[in-house]
Subunit: 228 residues, 2 copies
């Protein structure tokens, strides 16, 4: 493998590794061989949890512990790590076995999220806590406000149900219209229909729940733009 | 409250707080008032998880991620934190409402474990990552070898079942004989009986599972000291 993609990754991370073998290990899936990233992922998961906790503790100095826990859970979940891995273009540098590569492993959310954690763990091992903290803050600060809105707002399904109950209308129905993609990397399409006003909408998401939320949100939009 | 017990605690921690109000908050249960320890507990939980992960990553440099995860889970669980809280004599400095104090709150494992995490979070806020790491290493290093033995050994119930199966004897039976104490702070007494050799033993523990393990361990001891 040319080292060029790894140089690009280091520029994106804002961190040049003293020990380049740490970075190489961090982007090596277990299918690639014995020197893989699972131990670094174990460490990186803890570094991430710690630095995100610290970030939230600082930034929301009035919020109770329950709110911080909820926002943290949103920030460190797989789809967030997957997005960050894509923004750092980890698929271009991932080291996989030939079989795993042919099977599309470089695009698998779980593999990318694990590699993202391993990279954070590798920065911690290479340069210590402050360096890892700086990286996590840079990556996650832009995501915090978006996440807070999601985590602290009532979710769309709850809002929709309350809207309908307040008007004594029947509960919405959700059904899966279709799923696309392979196991562990599926997209769900869910239709939410509301019998009373005769409205329906389609939502897509990486989980059934996410698709339902999106569908409920779209129904809510239609309801609130329709004169009662 | 006299400051003397807090001075003693700081001596035991090997850390004198620049900001004494952080320490005071860390030992204040939510029943005591608005300035309580739940946010510091949120932070301390993450600091603990991170520093223990780092300790295990260093100390077991050949162990796969799964083993590290198992040992970490044993080290950071409530009963371990409860033991550490007792060894630091946290009950003497805990700040509780009068009602909670009368109800024995200063001895409740969950309250003590939470305060232990809050103290770790407070050291982190007061003096940074290295100080918190040094504290956690000092507290946890003596527990690691004991825990590794427990976590890597097969548990007693599994061993007992395998011992009996190898001799084509019927499976052991477990029944709760009695429970003592209030909800969230109960002690379970479980009897494990083995029909074939006609042996039984009583185990006590803070959970049903812990009591069963203890009972199974005692039955195993009798079986292995009895000529077959």
């Amino acid at each position: 493998m040319s080292t060029y993609p790894l140089d690009t990754l280091q520029a994106r991370l804002g961190h040049v590794f003293r020990d380049q073998s740490l970075l190489l290990r961090a982007v090596s899936h277990r299918s690639h061989g014995a020197d893989h990233n699972e131990r670094l992922e174990f460490l990186g998961d803890a570094v991430l949890n710690m630095t995100v906790s610290d970030l939230l503790f600082d930034q929301f100095d009035d919020s109770p512990e329950g709110d911080l826990t909820r926002v943290r859970a949103h920030l460190v979940r797989q789809d967030m790590l997957h997005r960050l891995a894509l923004s750092l273009q980890l698929p271009a540098v991932l080291r996989l076995s030939d079989g795993e590569a042919r099977a599309g492993g470089a695009q698998r959310p779980s593999i990318l999220a694990d590699a993202m954690e391993a990279v954070i763990g590798a920065v911690y091992r290479d340069a210590g806590y402050e360096a890892a903290q700086a990286l996590v803050r840079r990556l996650f600060e832009p995501l915090v406000s978006e996440t807070v809105t999601q985590a602290w707002a009532k979710d769309a399904k709850t809002q929709l149900q309350e809207w309908l109950q307040a008007r004594r209308q029947s509960v919405p129905e959700y059904r899966i219209e279709t799923t696309r993609g392979r196991a562990h990397d599926q997209t769900f399409v869910v239709v939410c229909s509301v019998a009373g006003p005769g409205i329906e909408a389609r939502g897509e998401g990486r989980s059934r729940r996410a698709a339902e939320q999106e569908a409920a949100r779209l129904v809510l939009e239609q309801l609130s733009s329709t004169p009662e």
